[in-house]
């Protein structure tokens, strides 16, 4: 239980861990031999090799196995007694008896038994014996085990009568408590485990409910819109937006509207442009930066450039690339559309000049527009990090 040494030993021997543990408990009563053996084993044991297949532990300890281990323990005890390594008959034999009794009752549950315990809550109002021990432990075994434990306790009490009478009452209480512990301990342990399992189940079902709610609000809603939509461009834009949202959600990113990091903000603006104008906006973001007032300005300029591309270029696709470097943030908005001659833009069409170039300048950055008729357009925005 402490270091897994005994469990490991049991696994190595193909024995039930409970038997091994009880044996060591009994041997401890014999002059502390169990503890010494335990420490030696612990020191010698290697870390379990996870890749090595574990020997199957017998489904239920066969009676022969129990008998064999009991014989080994009894023999060891007689030997130790003869050798004088002994706490005295008054301690050792009662412990041995109690151990034998609990081995009989608590002979290890197998997987099927554990499943039975998982269903224990359904059974609570039922027969307490069935409830605690499960129907497959024979009443005979329970009775025999309880008898042995009781005998062990009785002998212990009788043998210690010689002790100061003031301590007798205390001792009686302690021994009774220990007996109850032996009988009920595993039950309580299992109930606790069941409670843990139940909690996990509840968390799981809550998660499922949350996923269902999210899918309902997002995916199902979008699917409904798509079914009603006639325009293929609309459908594509809806699908793109949904895809983006779902992906952000799967990546545990907050929804774009509540977004404060650069990546999310770029995704959000791409999503807006896709919704307003029927184009596909591809985004690639490298690095990250907090979205300050200046970065916000860069993103707005970026959005304006993308909207311009969507409106005027005739290209079905706009690419946005944003890179946050240590000393600057740059953004490229590119399309492969019809392009134009930047010098020939009439002075009254100031959309680009005002909202992109002007905005960048006001925030300490710059904007360059590269375009040629027939060769697409690229808007390059640059913002020094010192300004942001």
């Amino acid at each position: 239980m402490l270091t897994g040494t005994l469990g490991g030993l049991a696994e190595a021997l193909g024995l039930d861990p409970l038997l091994v543990r009880l044996s060591f408990a009994v041997l401890t009563a014999a002059g502390g031999t169990g503890i010494v053996l335990y420490l030696v084993l612990w020191a010698l044991s290697a870390e379990p090799d996870a890749s090595a297949p574990a020997l199957p532990v017998g489904q239920r300890p066969r009676n022969r196995q129990i008998a064999a281990v009991a014989c080994i323990v009894a023999g060891s005890m007689l030997f130790l007694r003869g050798a004088g390594i002994w706490f005295g008959d008054a301690v050792a034999w009662p412990v041995a008896l109690a151990a034998a009794g609990s081995a009989l009752i608590w002979a290890r549950t197998d997987a099927a038994d554990r499943q039975r315990w998982a269903r224990i809550s359904e059974r609570l109002p039922g027969n307490p014996v069935v409830m605690v021990f499960g129907s497959r432990v024979s009443p005979l075994r329970i009775a025999g085990g309880a008898l042995l434990i009781a005998a062990g306790m009785a002998i212990f009490l009788v043998a210690n009568q010689a002790l100061a009478s003031a301590r007798t009452a205390l001792l009686a209480v302690l021994v009774t408590a220990a007996g109850l512990g032996i009988i009920l301990g595993p039950w309580i342990l299992r109930l606790t485990r069941d409670a843990g399992e139940e909690r996990r189940q509840r968390i799981r079902s809550e998660e499922r409910a949350e996923i269902a709610a999210h899918l309902h609000d997002s995916v199902l809603h979008t699917l409904a819109l798509i079914q009603r939509s006639e325009d293929p461009a609309d459908v594509a834009a809806l699908a793109r937006r949904q895809e983006r949202e779902l992906r952000a959600w799967l990546d545990h990113r907050p929804t774009p509207s509540a977004q404060q990091d650069l990546r999310g903000a770029v995704d959000a603006l791409a999503s807006r442009v896709e919704q307003l104008h029927h184009v596909t906006v591809d985004t690639v973001v490298v690095g990250d930066a907090p979205v300050s007032e200046h970065v916000e300005a860069l993103l707005l300029a970026c959005q304006e450039a993308a909207i311009n591309a969507a409106r005027h270029s005739g290209a079905p696709r706009v690419s946005i690339y944003v890179e946050a470097d240590t000393d600057s943030i740059s953004a490229y908005v590119r399309d492969e559309g019809r392009g134009f001659d930047p010098d020939a833009v009439p002075a009254d069409r100031r959309g680009i000049a005002h909202s992109v170039i002007g905005r960048m300048r006001r925030h300490g950055g710059s904007a360059t527009i590269t375009s040629q008729p027939g060769k697409g357009t690229e808007v390059h925005l640059e913002l020094p990090r010192s300004a942001s």
């Binding site: 992906r247 490298v286 690419s319 690339y321 590119r334």
Partner: protein, 217 residues
């Protein structure tokens, strides 16, 4: 496509039947589609038996993912089969995983049929295929200077490689990049292949951590 050239033998791996038939319809004019598979075991068995030239490999697959398939085939060490990863996922750790398992490129499922055919041809001829998004991943993963590095050549991108990747991320084709950077198309290819090699071989710790971090956010 030249009539006398042998057609590229293509193998499709994707767990969605609908997507596979879509690919088949788009690609069968140009390529000989020799087989398809819906999971890792089918894929490994099919590829080992058929020795296709190119495998279009979904990153997400039941039974271990695309990286498992590429790994298993690489371990057999036979044939000249090349892998092109394709996915809707974009989850960085998956993409980096399949590239490190040996895929020669990565494209998203929203790619146009023409671009996809082009990417397959490119992979077939031994070149690397970087979508804008993959270029972004790589730039992100190789950001910053390393204080200490076991193999600086493997763990760092050269300024030129960085420049090429930036252009890919901005949406330029290799040809356009060549014109803009005053390089031959072949040189652009060489840079991209070299980045692919670094991506596959770099022991750069950030590569894994970056992918994990990106997932955690």
């Amino acid at each position: 496509m030249k009539a006398d050239a042998p057609r590229t033998r293509l193998f499709l791996v994707d767990d969605h039947q609908l997507f596979r038939s879509g690919l088949r319809a788009e690609l069968e004019d140009e390529f000989e589609i020799v087989g398809e598979a819906a999971d890792v075991d089918q894929a490994v068995a099919g590829i080992a038996a058929l020795h296709p030239d190119v495998v279009l490999l979904d990153v997400h697959l039941p039974g271990g993912g695309g990286a498992t398939v590429a790994d298993a085939i690489a371990r057999r060490g036979e044939g000249e089969t090349r892998f092109l990863a394709i996915s809707v996922s974009d989850a960085p750790e998956d993409v980096i995983g399949v590239i490190r398992a040996g895929a020669r490129g990565y494209v998203t499922k929203s790619i146009s049929p023409t671009d996809l055919a082009d990417a397959i041809r490119r992979v077939r001829s031994g070149d690397a295929v970087f979508s804008p998004r993959l270029a972004g991943f790589v730039l992100d993963a190789f950001r910053g200077e390393l204080p200490t590095s076991i193999d600086p050549e493997m763990d760092q991108l050269t300024p030129r490689e960085r420049e090429v990747l930036r252009h890919i991320a901005r949406g330029f084709t290799y040809k356009e990049i060549g014109v803009r950077l005053n390089l031959s198309a072949k040189t652009v290819e060489t840079h991209v292949s070299s980045v692919l090699r670094k991506l596959q071989l770099s022991s750069r710790y950030e590569l894994t951590r970056w992918a994990m971090d990106r997932r955690m956010i």
